[in-house]
């Protein structure tokens, strides 16, 4: 993870939505000399077409019958768009059932939802304490957390896998008992939590720390304790920041291959979508009809999130751009 190039204010603030024009500066008038012209239009069109074609190829192939997908290029399908024999849903049925992608989809959900909620909850409590509670070591701890953003997760893989499979002890002392966490959901949740925490604590502290102190003070005056203030006041006020980070973390976990590969493994029961897909690529012989439909199954949820929550999605990404 790298440090914080994106200003924390951005997390809740303005300006980085994919499409929306900037509210402050309407310069779209027809009289604006900068607008229009053939060059920008053509250049943009060329880039967009280049960017879309690879995905389009996969999308089209995923709906073509096996024999056709294997013997003709996907672009030839455009010659027979209205021929029913050119299109099928069978590939998706095969991938979901025989290919085990339904199971993998469920596993991805079981990994990604808790691996999003757990780090956010833990980070929010810590961020609240760093912002509004007085205790010894507050500054040192916070600086330590921020410093940990440097650590690439490759640095942590070997020791964590050892903890999971053998525990840790010094002399006869067991420091970390062997819980046999390897291959369990809990093990993956904890790993994702740890890798997401430094950034989450940092971003949420910046947000929660910038809430007006009068609100917190007056709640204290009214006799609310810290837990109540946190849960009833700070969490509702921080929803934009929490949502942005949640979306980022969810997609990061959903799309992750490395951590799932190391800690959850590739057995048919436990594997998540990315692993199932990578295995399908690895198995020799090119089942393009299966591979493409499976790829779209794995992309379905991220794309839905992307289209439904574009605004939050971009905020989350720009804020979390820097996770390792």
């Amino acid at each position: 993870m790298t440090a914080l190039p994106v200003e924390p204010a951005n997390l809740a603030g303005t300006g980085t939505d994919v499409g929306s024009a900037p509210p402050a500066r309407p310069k779209g008038g027809a009289g604006d000399v900068r607008k229009g012209g053939w060059f920008p239009r053509i250049a943009v069109l060329v880039v967009v077409v280049l960017w879309v074609i690879p995905t389009l190829g996969v999308l089209v192939t995923s709906f073509r019958p096996e024999e056709l997908a294997d013997s003709t290029g996907w672009w030839t399908a455009f010659g027979h768009v209205f021929d029913g024999g050119q299109w099928t849903l069978q590939n998706y049925r095969d991938a979901l059932d025989a290919g085990g992608f339904q199971n993998a989809f469920l596993n991805s959900l079981a990994v990604a939802v808790p691996a999003t909620i757990i780090p956010i909850t833990i980070a929010a409590f810590a961020a609240y304490a760093f912002s509004w509670m007085d205790f010894r070591g507050r500054y040192v701890m916070f600086v330590g957390v921020v410093g940990l953003m440097v650590v690439p997760l490759q640095m942590a893989l070997i020791p964590i896998l050892r903890l999971y499979t053998r525990g840790a002890s010094i002399g006869g002392w067991t420091l970390f008992p062997d819980f046999d966490l390897s291959g369990s959901y809990l093990g993956v949740w904890l790993a994702h939590t740890a890798f997401g925490l430094p950034l989450a604590v940092y971003l949420l502290r910046n947000y929660i720390g910038s809430l007006p102190s009068e609100i917190i003070e007056s709640a204290r005056m009214d006799g609310a304790d810290h837990f109540t203030i946190f849960w009833r006041l700070v969490v509702p006020l921080s929803v934009p920041a929490l949502a942005a980070f949640a979306i980022f973390q969810f997609l990061w976990v959903w799309n992750d291959l490395l951590i799932a590969y190391i800690f959850l493994g590739g057995t048919r029961d436990t594997r998540v979508l990315t692993i199932a897909l990578a295995n399908l690529v690895g198995s020799r012989g090119e089942n393009w009809h299966l591979l493409t439909s499976a790829a779209f199954i794995s992309m379905a949820l991220p794309l839905a999130v992307f289209f439904a929550l574009q605004r939050y999605f971009v905020r989350g990404l720009t804020a979390g751009a820097v996770k390792g």
Partner: protein, 386 residues
């Protein structure tokens, strides 16, 4: 969980009210010993309950839907319940300790997880990198000697160097140009940007599949080429090329995948920066007779230089750690497309050589630090200027 739309704390709540659900046990008036026993019993029951559910989650025969439902509920609700129970336990402490202990209950779990999963591993990995394959004997710097002499490792270092130069360079340039161009469209800016940004939402594995289809190759006589590139070549009457085996150009073809995924990110961030350049400056330059390109080159680009630096660092660090693309496309060693992070997994996880895996991880870590330091320093300067 409730209370999301509750606008403010409710004044009538008792000072020790534990949150959304009032605690069932009456805490006032009980003798401290009994209270303490109650707290211990509740916590023990909670841990036992969690343990049982985790046992259930390992049960391979259970219905998958139920299993996944339980996993999500336990994982999501469990963590909140943990804090609630700890806070409840703190309330049961004698009055004078309560507020001294409570902050540590709030930050404690984060600190414990970071200590166990990040701080300890960093130290441990450094030690492991000085040991042999099984992590038993001490071998000094042998693993590091391996990293800097083995031909495959040297290739990985060379390739990674290529990744961290080419991917940010192309990604940021195209992103910047595209941001500037869409800014000048009358219509369709939002759609164009969304389409470029879209690959950012999918996984590296998904992207690798998408591009494998583009690069797909079949030798002549082994069926039609259904990959786009070779399809075009056969259309032009040329013989197909095994793209992914063209050392060293195949490295570039893999980099294209990452550029394809991350240009959208650069574009979105840079586009926001471009739009925040004050109109007055641009107008003034235009009145002075500057051409559109000069305005862009002399005014827009310098104004957004800090953002360009940030996006570039982000892409450098990502490129440094690239793993999935190379791994999923396959056969990095045969095709000579090894990269550092991929070698680390190869040695540690597939070849079971913890020492070498650890050494590669440490090298990666050390390589990232200067980029980070530069990044942080730059960030501080910006703060000062503001």
């Amino acid at each position: 969980m409730t209370a999301i739309d509750e606008p403010a704390a409710e004044p009538e709540q008792a000072p020790t009210a534990p949150g959304p659900a009032p605690a069932p046990a009456p805490r006032r008036g009980l003798p401290p010993a009994l209270r303490a026993a109650g707290v211990v019993a509740v916590l023990a029951a909670a841990v036992a309950l969690l343990w049982l559910t985790f046992g259930f989650l390992r049960d391979a025969d259970a219905n998958r839907f139920v299993l996944v439902g339980v996993a999500i509920t336990v994982g999501a609700a469990g963590v909140f319940f943990l804090y609630w129970a700890m806070n409840w336990a703190v309330d049961a402490l004698p009055e004078r300790f309560r507020e001294g202990v409570r902050p540590y209950v709030f930050v404690g779990p984060a600190m414990v997880i970071l200590a166990v999963f990040l701080v300890y591993p960093v130290i441990n990995t450094i030690l492991i990198s000085l040991g042999d394959a099984q992590g038993e004997g001490f071998v000094g710097l042998d693993n590091y000697r391996f990293v800097f002499t083995d031909s495959s490792m040297l290739r990985a270092i060379r390739n990674t160097a290529g990744w961290i130069i080419i991917v940010p360079l192309v990604g940021v340039s195209v992103g910047l140009a595209f941001a500037a161009l869409t800014d000048r469209l009358r219509r369709g800016e939002a759609v164009a940007k969304s389409l470029i940004f879209l690959p950012m939402a999918i996984s590296f594995v998904g992207a690798a599949v998408v591009w494998r289809l583009v690069y797909s190759f079949r030798p002549e006589g082994f069926g039609t080429n259904i990959g786009l590139l070779n399809g075009i070549k056969s259309g032009l009457g040329m013989s197909p090329t095994p793209w992914l085996q063209q050392d060293p150009w195949n490295n570039l073809l893999l980099m294209v995948i990452m550029i394809w995924m991350q240009t959208g990110f650069a574009m979105v961030v840079l586009s926001a920066a471009i739009k925040s350049v004050p109109d007055e400056i641009i107008e003034a330059a235009r009145i002075d007779g500057a051409s559109e390109f000069q305005v862009f080159r002399r005014i827009v680009v310098p104004s957004i230089a800090p953002t360009i630096a940030v996006v570039t660092t982000y892409m450098i660090i990502n490129a440094m750690k690239v793993f999935d693309i190379v791994f999923v496309i396959g056969d990095p060693r045969t095709n000579k497309t090894e990269v550092i992070a991929e070698r680390m997994i190869q040695w540690f996880f597939i070849s079971n050589n913890d020492g070498r895996g650890g050494a590669i991880a440490v090298v990666l870590f050390l390589a990232i630090i200067p980029v980070m330091v530069w990044n942080v320093r730059r960030f501080r300067e910006q703060e000062v200027v503001r």
